[in-house]
Subunit: 77 residues, 2 copies
């Protein structure tokens, strides 16, 4: 089955890439954009059919590789 | 309000970064990982309170800047 993960910067961690996107959008006449934060998205195909077991495994992957827990949060969808 | 967007590579478009993550996970004893596809995630704060109007605006941003529609798909959450 497929498990989806979103990794985002924690609140308070500077996001220069998001800031650049926000400024670009503002310059493209999207003046209503107040803030952009960029994150990462992963679509992980695992050979486990039990949803709960698959999510436990993916949680472990997030902790060990996919997210840097010092500055990032992750959410398994 | 905040609008969330996920941008992913279209099926069939090579994803060397996802492949590298998959191989790394396999090497870390996560042998159950069959495929990883990486995408981008955006958290966009707009000064529009109507959900539908905000999403229409963000859809326009996706088409014009956030996604490359030749190789990418996007989804507004």
């Amino acid at each position: 089955m497929k498990v989806k993960v979103i990794v985002t910067l924690k609140d308070g961690v500077l996001d220069p890439q998001g800031k650049a996107i926000q400024q670009t959008l503002n310059g493209m006449s999207f003046s209503e954009v107040k803030e952009v934060r960029q994150g990462k998205y992963f679509d992980i195909e695992v050979s486990i059919n039990d949803e709960e077991k698959a999510k436990v495994k993916v949680d472990e992957m997030c902790k060990k590789l996919l997210a840097n827990l010092v500055i990032e949060d992750y959410k398994i969808l």
